[in-house]
Symmetry: C2
Subunit: 198 residues, 2 copies
DNA sequence: GAGGTTAGCTAACGCTCGTAAGTAACGCAG
DNA sequence: CTGCGTTACTTACGAGCGTTAGCTAACCTC
């Protein structure tokens, strides 16, 4: 049987790799990678520190998995969002909406990615940065293509829009007055204004 | 004579508290507070680690000074920017401009403040957060007062504008195609659009 | 009910960290 | 010239880190 996969009768009180990753995610988001000790992750799971090694290979692997998976999902979101949409303004709106939405619904992942990329070792770091660059350039391309602003401003606007979305992870609360979808709709509207399309 | 204050003939090859703080600032901005060891700061200054203690009291003090000073200057910028300006849209433009400008001209400070506030110990942490809250609420107040959007959207817009400016510290380069002033002008224009005033 | 697998434990490792103490060299004030 | 203040040095400490090894007890399969 696959390790950690609990059978029909649930809740065997045993820790799984996914549980370790989830605890790490919470703590990394709160205190940062270097600010989090394995002993704290273990405490969260109510086991001793060395027992963690039954479910992971190294601390760095936890960070790598979190950052790599998240970055790939961001790119997948983007591709799906613009696929088959003809109007360029609508492509920009969709791309911004899914990006904003992810930052509202996956706050911890977003915080870790944006704070601890520097703590990621090569070659993972290079791969992640490459994917991010591709995403940012795709955004800039959309804004240029839309034609509301000149080329230099497009770069500026792209950075502004992306980072505005990233910021959502810092203040959004699930029990707040607005749902994630509402916030995403607002911010994609802001994006069009910044790009000179509204 | 004041310690570290070099006489008329400059460059006595001796390290000053300001030099330690500057080296710490650079490294904190690059690798984060917990990711930076005092040994690295010492290496940057070409002295041994314990010699740092001739110019500082503790590592935490370096962080506290950097973050506290920067936060206070941000607030001072704001007050000066809105002082005596009647038109509310112009107040918003000015406030955004100086905030953006500071993030372009003090990139390292901005990166540290936005990344390592969690590593700041009390009571400094509380004080800083209080000042930041005041600044954010002032922005929200400006947007509400301007009346381009409803109250809930004002909060959203304020966060978006502020974080858009913060992002400048992440990509701005002094030798890039745009000056800090040009970027600040652009972003304060974006702010007005987000606030529904353009 | 025996054998193998798993997940927990304790103990211990090598390392690096931030910090303290004591000492030698240098420069200015008397 | 003498003496004091300053700065950097070496040495050392205690603590905490990530990680490894080895044991034990529980469970799953047959």
């Amino acid at each position: 049987m696959a390790p950690g996969a609990v059978g029909k009768s649930e809740a065997k009180t045993t820790v799984s790799p996914a549980a370790v990753r989830d605890a790490a995610l919470t703590l990394f988001a709160e205190r940062g990678y270097h600010g989090t000790a394995l002993s704290q992750i273990a405490a969260e799971l109510k086991i001793r520190t060395p027992s963690l090694y039954n479910h992971m290979r190294a601390k760095q692997d936890l960070l790598r998995d979190i950052v790599a998976d998240t970055t790939e999902q961001v790119w997948a979101d983007y591709e799906e969002a613009v696929e088959g949409v003809d109007d360029v303004a609508e492509r920009l709106r969709n791309a911004t909406r899914v990006y904003a939405l992810r930052h509202a619904t996956h706050r911890r992942e977003a915080l870790v990615v944006n704070r601890d990329i520097a703590s990621l070792e090569e070659p993972a770091r290079g791969n992640v940065l490459e994917l991010r660059r591709r995403h940012a350039q795709a955004f800039r391309g959309l804004i240029e293509e839309a034609g509301g602003v000149d080329r230099e401003s497009a770069t500026l606007a792209a950075f502004g829009i992306l980072e505005m979305c990233v910021s959502i992870a810092r203040w959004f609360r699930e029990d707040g007055p607005l749902t994630a979808e509402e916030v995403a709709a607002k911010y994609s509207e802001y994006a069009l204004r910044i790009a000179g399309l509204a």
